[in-house]
Amino acid sequence: MFCLGIESTAHTFSCAIIEKRGKSGRILSDVRKIYRPPEGEGIHPREASRHHAENSPQVLSECLEKADVKITELDLVSYAAGPGLGPCLRIGAVVARSLSSYYDIPVYPVNHALGHIELGKMLTGAKDPLVLLVSGGHTMILAFLGKRWRVFGETLDITLGQLLDQIGRHAGFASPCGTKIEELASKSSNYEPLPYVVKGNDVSFSGLFSATKRIIPKGLETACFSLQETAFSMIGEAVERALSFTGKKEFLVVGGVAANKRLSEILQSICKRHDCKFFVSPKEYSGDCGSQISWVGLLESSKKAGAKLENTFVRQSWRLDTVEILY
């Protein structure tokens, strides 16, 4: 089975085709165009959606070409229906609806966060992991139980990705700033005290954000280093709590921030202590991509029929723990 997945929740517009045989999937193509805001600024939803609209035809045809699949050979189309920025989401949905109605292909609206997890599981082979989802939109610790992904801990305010991006923007970089911050942090080992806020299984980053801004005058490298050490240790502690509470023997980290080496290092050391297998989604697929949407489409199609065209909305706020998993 071939599925075209369309991702357009935030800065990335991406199309990907995955072929599913039995239970295994193979990514045939995954083409992305990323909207880059001017330095020091964040994503402007209107500008990002314009970027997506302008680039969608090229991304789509390149994706089909690379996969060597014709539109008429597609068995289904899936698109990220949320959560994300409304104007951006609508572009992906329009492309999906157009293909579906013109070529009569079943269409599946898919939860973007679920895509991160399922693609991570598919690529790493993790079976029943505790999952840490860390990206610009999410900071959540999840485990699967009774048809749903249950939240064991999460951020009470901003996400880890937002924290890094906002500090980066404050320092004048263009979003996403994770890589830049990681690079600067690796040049320092000078720790300045910052607030460390773990509330039970949850974390709160807003105070850390303000405090980090205040120490930037002491040197950007020191600030980035101290920020990473504090924020990642908080996440680490929340993960440790969830691991010891659930007793899971596998751990998987997915999402854009999963690409950070220091975070991986910390999580790996935690897994070792808890006798737990560590999985991280490969760097090229940890960030937003069409593959994550395509794969969930394929999984869902094994249990339910495509959505009716009048039900192919987008949902800017769509929490992962409200999605019922049938497969």
Partner: protein, 203 residues
């Protein structure tokens, strides 16, 4: 005996008595300055808070000895079962008692900071509360609401089948202690916190 998230737990004796040794070990992954700060703070806080809550009748394990430099606490050994591992029926019933204990703490201006079903032990005659490492002295509605929200989150993730009845049982016990007007205030703050969560409200 057990590797917890925060500390390792050993069964030992202290002056001839069966005792629990709780060591907050150095975490290799954590920056040393940060790590020492956290371990010192929590070790002292835990010992202080346990003695304090005893003064208003909350049953927590006795503190036998604290070694601040080694980040060690010797605690009374309590035999019983973690509430997390009890049968659903018993958990629902016990939640009312948990609510009462949390109510007493809040009424006396203390938030526990880690209200989960694995931090309560049910013995033959008593319910005992553990782990005050994240406890804080605070009268704020927001802080008290955080305790309640965490417990709700735990029920929602680890005790899905009984979440509604366990939650209302908890609130019943909590209300009995703090009074209904304070209870309503805290519950509405819990909803506020949930609304702040990512993607929680539909725009």
């Amino acid at each position: 005996m057990k590797k917890g998230a925060e500390a390792d737990i050993y069964l030992t004796t202290w002056n001839g008595r069966k005792s629990i040794l709780k060591i907050r070990k150095r975490k290799e992954y954590r920056n040393e300055i940060l790590d020492n700060r956290i371990r010192t703070l929590r070790t002292i806080r835990e010992a202080k808070m346990i003695s304090e809550v005893k003064s208003f009748g909350v049953t927590a394990p006795l503190v036998y000895f604290v070694d601040q430099n080694k980040f060690e606490i010797y605690l009374q050994f309590v035999s019983g079962e973690l509430v997390r591992d009890l049968s659903n029926k018993v958990i629902i019933k016990t939640c009312e008692k948990i609510g009462k204990i949390i109510g007493i703490l809040h009424k006396n201006g203390i938030m526990h900071g880690d209200v989960t079903t694995s931090n309560f032990i049910l013995t033959s005659d008593k319910l005992i509360i553990l782990d005050f490492g994240l406890a804080q002295r605070t009268e704020k509605v927001e802080d008290h609401a955080i305790d309640l929200r965490l417990f709700k989150e735990v029920l929602n993730s680890a005790h899905v089948a009984i979440v509604n009845s366990a939650w209302s049982s908890f609130l019943k016990g909590y209300g009995k202690i703090v009074g209904s007007s304070r209870k309503e205030k805290v519950i509405s703050q819990v909803l506020n916190i949930e609304k702040r969560g990512r993607y929680a409200n539909v725009i």
